[in-house]
């Protein structure tokens, strides 16, 4: 038994180091879970063509993806990263510090964040200001910030439903939450004179004010699984959910999206930038890996092809809101020309 153990140990060690030495021939992508459905769809189509292996796509979150992406250059590091927001300057600098010099920024389309409820409930038309009043931890009242006193929607505005405020939404670790806070809470906060004052005097306190969501039961962190939120909304017609447009699209027979600032969350409205709660989605690529890892250029070509990200492309079928025609052309040229990002 001793001899066979020694042999096994040697074999394992050989394999371990051999694994290190072999060059990677498969594209590796990490990053945002919001962009994941789209990047994976492109990866699958790309692989089906048969010339290259299907890329491996991990869903690590936008921040986690940047950490991995900016860790360095070489087969041990990912080639592309998905992001539900633009790269931050600090992340860009980390990249540069670790040798990731040329980063190609790819805007691939838009995503809408909707406030949805069961079709059985009455349709809602709400403003971002009202959403802030419903969901913030502290709301401005009579000149100062007080803990959120509103328990029913119609206390905020008699036109809103006479129902308890119950919103299921993403946890703080989610990129969707970050986007929601920026597009709704921050935007709404700036319309209140008390908070505008606060922004001028204490930037930090202002940030805390708009990003703190109520914890008394009005807002329920429903985890990262949006399918679960959909199920709960189906069971509870008084509750609302916050999630990406693709889930509304896939469940349009059960759910309806609320109008925000008078605009309905439809494909056309988001594409035309009329719906206010929408954000661009990005993919970032390492120019240094092009040529080292086979297929990156071809993958980018597939992503920027009309049949993928066009108005009637397969990504639109999956819920990605495409950019307007001119914007698409512009970005396609930038991406296929591997234009490096400058910050």
């Amino acid at each position: 038994m001793n001899k066979s153990l020694a042999v096994a140990a040697v074999a394992l060690a050989t394999v371990a180091f051999a694994g290190a030495a072999q060059a990677r021939d498969q594209i590796r992508i990490v990053g945002s879970s919001t962009v994941y459905p789209f990047t994976t769809a492109v990866a699958e189509q790309f692989g089906k063509a048969g010339k290259f292996k299907t890329p491996v796509v991990e869903s690590t979150g936008t921040g986690g993806g940047f950490k991995l992406f900016c860790a360095g250059v070489g087969p041990d590091h990912p080639d592309l990263t998905n992001a539900s927001r633009a790269i931050k300057k600090s992340e860009f600098e980390t990249c540069a510090k670790n040798g990731v010099a040329d980063v190609v920024e790819m805007k691939v389309g838009y995503d809408g964040i909707v406030l949805a409820a069961s079709k059985k409930a009455k349709h809602m038309d709400i403003t971002r200001q009202q959403m802030f009043l419903a969901l913030a931890k502290d709301v401005p009242q009579g000149g100062k910030l007080v803990p959120n006193p509103y328990t029913m929607w119609n206390q905020i505005d008699p036109k809103l439903p006479a129902a308890k405020i119950e919103v299921l939404g993403p946890p703080p670790t989610s990129g969707t939450r970050d986007a929601f806070v920026e597009l709704v809470m921050e935007a709404a906060a700036e319309t209140f004179p008390e908070l505008k004052e606060l922004k001028k005097s204490d930037e930090k306190a202002f940030k805390k004010a708009y990003s703190s969501v109520r914890e008394d039961g009005g807002y329920v962190e429903a985890g990262e699984n949006d399918n679960l939120i959909v199920q709960k909304l189906d069971a509870n017609p008084n509750a609302f959910g916050i999630f990406g447009y693709s889930f509304l699209d896939q469940n349009s027979d059960k759910l309806q999206g609320s109008m925000v600032d008078g605009v309905a969350p439809t494909f056309d409205n988001i594409a035309a930038s009329k719906y206010p709660v929408s954000r661009p989605l990005f993919v970032y690529a390492k120019k240094a890996h092009v040529g080292q890892i086979p297929g990156i250029k071809e993958y980018l070509a597939e992503y920027t092809s009309e049949k993928a990200w066009g108005k009637t492309g397969y990504l639109a079928d999956k819920g990605l809101i495409p950019m307007p025609d001119s914007e698409r052309k512009e970005w396609a040229a930038k991406i296929n020309g591997l234009e490096a990002l400058k910050m």
């Binding site: 096994a8 290190a20 072999q22 459905p37 869903s59 041990d76 079709k119 949006d226 027979d253």
Partner: protein
């Protein structure tokens, strides 16, 4: 006289009351036990029922019969019949043309798009395989059953409403009408979903399968078994039979017991730091996954092994030693074979536990969209619980039932492993 015996004479009232209370307490205790079991079985039944009722329909897949014309011009191959040409031919267009012909009244771009949506976007693979097997079909028209699109499949299974005019329906009224037409022609049917068991992951639910995850799990668990069985048994034997009983072995024992209780995600971090960053092993590979799972299972096997070894009676050991066997011979020839059933049971249960681990694999990159079936433990792969997690997060309606189906497959393997453990134990049970 019998009537005067202290047993027959009526017991005093206090005694009777005490007896009554004791019996009442016993009855309550028994009721509590029965209620507990009933509750537990109730939860189990609810769980199984929910999963099965959700997942059973996933084992069935709708297909649509299309009169496919293998027109070489449409295929774009002309006179070329080489395998490369056949592989790269435009099967998608062939399907489109065949559908247009089958529904000649359909005109207009958006209408035609809806028509093509009846069939899966991956149906071209079926045609490619047909021609690769039999190039003589070129120029002929064949009736082929093609996989239906996922929304069509959902409608046929009743998960999407088939009433025309329903607000927000994923299928247009036209598509609902065509489904009705196909039904009347007998050109739409439900069959066993072989795709689920033969293909890897896909973004299209009707093309998604578990085979990649099953192979990934198989490779991972094989590596785990190969590493932690000999290592675990040898450690248990050394600690139980050969190690001197001093402070150091006490510390080791305490540490091993604690390791068995460490959350498994910590082992994932360890795997990331050592296997991926230090040794540079390929990311997302079952090799690394197997090693991480081995680290998790090792304490379990060591503890089970030690318990099994302790259970071997000292009389057997003395008999062997008395005959002049050395300590190692005593352990190898007598103690280990007798402890083996217990060790095997512990190993199988450890493996069953490892089969369902997901969190540690997240750290080493095995929670990823991987389409290709792994050919070796070094190719990137997912495992069954990871596939469940990924599908649970996908918005497409058809993935809901497939998630439950994946859970059913996972539970099946777990059940088989537990059954093997029970049978082994029964077979080798010894009476001293």
């Amino acid at each position: 006289m019998a009537e005067n015996s202290s047993l027959v004479r009526s017991t005093p009232a206090a005694m009777a009351a005490r007896l009554k209370r004791r019996y009442a307490a016993e009855t309550r205790f028994r009721l509590a036990g029965i209620t507990a079991i009933a509750l537990a079985l109730g939860f189990l039944a609810t769980l199984i029922f929910t999963i099965f009722s959700n997942g059973l329909t996933a084992f069935v897949q709708t297909s649509v019969k299309v009169e496919v014309a293998f027109d070489p011009e449409v295929l774009g191959i002309g006179n070329d019949r080489s395998p490369d040409a056949l592989a790269g031919a435009n099967y998608g267009q062939v399907i489109k043309e065949s559908l247009y012909k089958q529904f000649p009244t359909v005109e207009g771009r958006s209408e035609r798009r809806e028509l093509v949506g009846l069939v899966s976007s991956g149906a071209d693979i079926t045609l490619r395989k047909m021609l690769a097997a039999n190039p003589a079909l070129i120029g002929t028209t064949q009736s082929v059953w093609l996989i239906a699109g996922d929304d069509i499949d959902m409608a046929m299974k009743g998960h999407i409403s088939r009433t025309p005019g329903a607000d927000g329906n994923r299928l247009t009224d036209r598509q609902l009408g065509w489904i009705g037409d196909l039904e009347r022609q007998g050109a739409i049917r439900k069959g066993f979903n072989t795709t689920l068991f033969t293909t890897g992951d896909s973004r299209e639910p009707e093309l998604a399968g578990l085979w990649g995850a099953v192979v990934g799990s198989f490779f991972s668990l094989s590596i785990t078994l190969i590493v932690c069985f000999p290592l675990g048994v040898a450690t248990a034997v050394y600690l139980e039979e050969f190690a001197p009983k001093n402070k150091w072995t006490d510390i080791i024992e305490v540490n091993i017991n604690n390791l068995a209780a460490v959350p498994s995600v910590v082992f994932g971090l360890l795997g990331l730091a050592i296997f991926l960053n230090f040794f540079g092993m390929p990311r997302s590979a079952p090799l690394v996954g197997g090693l991480v799972l081995a680290l998790i299972s090792l304490p379990t096997i060591i503890i089970a092994g030690r318990a099994a070894l302790k259970a071997v009676p000292p009389s057997i050991r003395e008999a062997a030693l008395g005959l002049g066997a050395s300590k190692q011979q005593m352990v190898t020839d007598h103690v280990l074979p007798l402890a083996m059933p217990g060790i095997l049971t512990g190993t199988i249960l450890g493996m069953a536990h490892a089969l369902g681990e997901t969190a540690p694999l997240l750290m080493i990159g095995m929670v990823a969209f991987i389409v290709d079936i792994p050919a070796s433990p070094m190719d990137p792969a997912a495992v069954l619980p990871v596939q469940v997690y990924l599908w649970a997060d996908s918005p497409e309606r058809a993935f809901v039932e497939r998630t439950s189906a994946a859970i059913m497959v996972l539970l099946f393997f777990l059940g088989m492993m537990n059954l093997a453990a029970i049978l082994l134990r029964k077979k080798f049970e010894r009476r001293w």
